[in-house]
């Protein structure tokens, strides 16, 4: 029986006047590949911040590694590798690929400890996992969006995490690169035995990769294998009119309106 490493128990998150997630109960076990889906503003990113210990619950509880999330010690945080939503990177920010990945070691090292040869080796190994070791001395700003995404995944791996938390990892990069980033994540899940928590609005992209899907819209509407969650009656509760089902049973939601 696999160990539960993240446990939401009737947890509610938000600010005093705005509830972002309400009454969430969910367990994530070691080695799972979980996809979190839901429309914009459904609380996906809040879920992310909560798991990172950046947002204590207003009610209920959230346990991560047998530790209440509001008490997450810093070395616990290092056990969750995090890929933030792709922001706009200043192309001229003076930082090399290796310097970026080394930052993944800093939290685990703690204050007052300087990075050693060992930390450098861990960072280089992380780079080789994402296939970027040859670019270690390249300026981060000179890389393409997909390559930068790989470097940021390497930074998360350099923390030597148990869990990889990915917030919209395929947004903002071209379609071929999206597939190669997803292949990389599958490879990390399989070969490094990482627990993957992947947040996305792109259901079609991840439906064949995940063990379980979690459907959010402030509340948790469904959690289970993709074939149970991706049913019109389940999805319609969350997406309503935005749900479009094509002949080939592909489900296109929300973005349909933005892109067509």
């Amino acid at each position: 029986m696999a160990k539960t490493i993240i446990r939401f128990d009737h947890a509610t998150f938000g600010f005093s006047d705005v509830i972002a997630l309400q009454d969430i109960s969910l367990e994530i076990t070691e080695g799972e590949f979980v996809g979190v889906i839901g429309p914009n503003g459904s609380g996906k990113t809040t879920l992310c911040r909560a798991v990172l210990g950046l947002m204590p619950p207003l009610g209920g509880s959230l346990q991560i590694f047998d530790c209440a999330c509001e008490e997450l010690r810093c070395h616990h945080r290092a056990r969750i590798g995090y890929l933030p939503q792709k922001g706009v990177l200043d192309k001229n920010f003076p930082i090399t690929v290796l310097e970026t990945v080394m930052m993944g070691r800093y939290g685990a090292l703690g204050l007052f400890n300087r990075p050693s040869k060992r930390d450098r080796d861990i960072a280089l190994e992380a780079l080789s996992h994402v296939g970027m070791e040859d670019r270690r001395n390249t300026a981060l700003g000179h890389l393409s969006g997909g390559q930068q995404q790989r470097v940021f995944i390497a930074r998360a791996l350099a923390q030597q995490p148990d869990v990889l938390l990915l917030d919209e990892p395929t947004t903002g990069i071209d379609i071929t690169t999206q597939h190669s980033v997803l292949d990389l994540i599958r490879h990390l899940h399989r070969d490094l035995k990482l627990t993957i928590l992947l947040i996305t609005h792109d259901i079609n992209m991840i439906r064949s990769s995940v063990d379980r899907l979690v459907l959010l819209k402030t509340r948790l509407y469904a959690a289970g294998p993709p074939e149970e969650v991706l049913r019109p009656d389940v999805l319609r509760q969350v997406y309503g009119k935005d749900l479009v089902i094509t002949e080939r049973d592909l489900i296109i939601v929300e973005d349909y309106h933005h892109h067509h």
Partner: protein, 275 residues
Amino acid sequence: MAQFIEMLTYDFMQRSLLAAATVGAVCSVIGVFVVLRGLAFVGAGTAHAAFAGVALAYLVGLPPLPLAIIFGLATVWVTGVMEEQGRMKLDVSIGILYTATMALAILFIGLMKGYNAEVYGYLFGSVLSVTPDELRVILVLSMVVLGVLLTFSKELYFIAFDQEMAEASGVPARRIFYLLLTLVALTVVVSLKTVGAILVFAMILIPASTAYQLTHSLSHMTAYAVVIGVACAVGGVLLSYIWDLPSGPAIVLLATTIFFLSVLLSPKRRRVQTA
């Protein structure tokens, strides 16, 4: 040449060169983090607040340094809280603090009886008149600031690059941010006497921004910034002696010249042009 050697034998000249080099070094290292973290205007606001502290000290007859530190720290911390709460855009809140503290300084000066040349020394900088006691204070405070910067350099680089990511991966990012703000205030106070409240801002920004033009690596950027900062400070003092110019402007204008040269010669610029 003989005249140049002779100049270096004067006590006051040795003191000013040492003071300028130290201030050049500490300003350029803190400048790297200020530029990368986007805190440029915090430096300016702090300088004027610290000057208000100096003016108050002369008005009531207290030693200027402690009051300058108190005013400087109060300003950076208020700024930090404002940034965190995000109630107002940072440039607006700093703009208000900046002018309000300057108004305080002018008020304090206005309340003084007669003209006080020493106060104006802090406004415009007078490195050639640094006393042995002042030099000692500059050296000690600079060592403290540089020591703390070195100790926490990896965390400071991380929050400069991405503060939220730093926090998420286990770095106590908020505390490091306030530490950085505190060090900015101390650096400003250390530099007041040398380059003055109006120009200290330039000493923090210019060497770091010049280095920013020249490299793609964080560690190289810091090394280049220190070399540029120290060279400009020392060069500026020598120029001010040789041509009898005020020292603060000599240092800052020398640094500005090098900055524009770096913009013209930047490899980043070339890359963009060939791309």
